[in-house]
């Protein structure tokens, strides 16, 4: 039988045998094995130098079994108990083929890049800070300490609110000043100022005075720089 397909790469004798059978488009049967006996032996001889020495024995065993099968086909009376031992080559090749196909599927999985990753181990002693609270610390104590700290913050937060409440608006001041002028006919702005609680209130009082002048509600008289200002109600009201 002419044999034309050259097989350059094979992994082990069964792989070579399988490739030979498949290159001839044969099923795995005892007959097909007889057909590839010659190419197999020829391949082993030709690749003698390329086969790793430790694998050569395995190739020779398969070659011997193939030759034995062929001999038996010609001389059915010939049997060698040693070569009859173990599973027959046909069974072995079928089994090998099943796993060779499975290996291709595993290769596809391995190359798909869908790997899983485990956690990377970091020694907890080095990485994690050690929390060593003093004796007697309980979750309730921590809660109490937190409440205490929160209570200390309360006056700070409440302060702006109360100061706003106490701050007098220009409008309120205008009202006060107008009431005073309308009841007393003449009144001293200095005395009105002196009733202020702070600088802020003084500023508001002065703004209120300017507003009343602008609205022509009061008339002001001042004898000289920094002397008292006398307020008089105008007739407009």
């Amino acid at each position: 039988m002419p044999y034309s397909v050259r097989i350059e790469q094979f992994e082990g004798p069964l792989d070579l045998l399988l490739q030979l059978v498949e290159s001839e488009k044969l099923e795995i049967t005892s007959v097909s094995l007889l057909q590839v006996t010659e190419p197999f032996v020829r391949h082993v001889r030709e690749h003698h130098g390329k086969i790793p020495p430790e694998e050569l024995a395995d190739f020779l065993i398969v070659a011997a079994r193939l030759v034995y099968l062929k001999s038996k086909a010609i001389l059915p009376t010939l049997t060698d108990p040693e070569l009859e031992e173990g599973p027959d080559l046909e069974t072995q090749l079928r089994m090998y083929k099943a796993f060779a196909q499975a290996a291709a599927k595993i290769a596809a999985l391995a190359n798909a890049g869908r790997s899983s990753y485990g956690r990377i181990y970091r020694a907890p002693k080095r990485e994690a800070p050690v929390f060593t609270p003093p004796n007697g610390v309980t979750p309730n104590l921590l809660r109490e300490l937190y409440h205490r700290a929160a209570r200390r913050l309360e006056p700070l937060i409440a302060l702006p609110k109360t100061s706003l409440e106490h701050a007098m608006t220009v409008e309120e001041k205008i009202g006060q000043l107008r009431d005073r002028v309308s009841t007393l006919m003449h009144s001293s702005f200095h005395r009105f100022l002196s009733e202020s609680q702070n600088k802020h209130e003084m500023v508001i009082s002065f703004l209120a005075l300017l507003e009343l002048i602008k609205l022509r509600i009061v008339r002001v008289e001042q004898d000289g720089h920094f002397s008292d200002i006398t307020l008089t109600l105008t007739n407009a009201v």
């Binding site: 694998e55 796993f99 290996a103 999985l109 890049g113 899983s116 990377i120």
Partner: protein
């Protein structure tokens, strides 16, 4: 806390594959209870759409990321894709994954070629390991959790055509004959 949640916490904290025996020691439970809890944990993570899953190889379990997250996790870890496995490596891994743990003669029976070097290389890569059970006076070899992580499966049962190849009649026959011939010569 349920036992499976406890084991989940344990595997999260230890961040490495743990044998069922060690887990049993850590949680002070009997191995059958741990086995049930591992099954429950695997099932719970799988059915709840979790980003983690339990990978198991034989008696060993590890908590790992879901393969759907592989791309992002790999980028975040700046981890290179592993180099491609050679054909003989893949073949050996496949046989051990489907049919393992098995002894070296059993493996060689299927591959038809002596495989000590390839086993050693795969062990160096952390894809194959000695398993606890020995047979016929020989150590057995099986794939590791790292192998299943590498291909993104949570265990042997997820391998393509697992039950068919696991119980392959030719394999059964070949391995039984090997045992018979060993007993015969012994």
């Amino acid at each position: 806390m349920t036992l499976d949640a406890l084991i989940e916490a344990l595997l999260f904290a230890t961040s490495q594959p743990m044998s069922a025996r060690k887990i049993a020691e850590a949680v002070s439970q009997k191995p059958p209870e741990v086995e049930d809890a591992l099954n429950a944990l695997q099932e719970r993570l799988a059915s709840s759409g979790s980003g983690t899953r339990l990978v198991r190889s034989g008696q060993t379990a590890e908590l790992v990321t879901h393969p759907d997250a592989a791309e992002i996790v790999r980028a975040a870890l700046k981890q290179e894709l592993h180099g491609e496995l050679s054909k003989p490596s893949l073949e050996t891994l496949s046989i051990l994954a489907y049919r393992g743990p098995m002894t070296r003669p059993e493996l060689e029976q299927i591959r038809g070629v002596q495989s000590s070097l390839i086993l050693r290389n795969l062990m160096l890569r952390g894809l194959v390991e000695h398993k606890e059970d020995a047979r016929l006076g020989q150590p057995t070899y099986g794939v590791t959790v790292a192998f299943f992580k590498h291909i993104g499966l949570s265990g042997a049962e997820e391998l393509p055509d697992y039950s068919e190849l696991r119980g392959h009649s030719a394999v059964e026959q070949a391995l039984q004959e090997l045992v018979a011939s060993h007993e015969h010569s012994a």
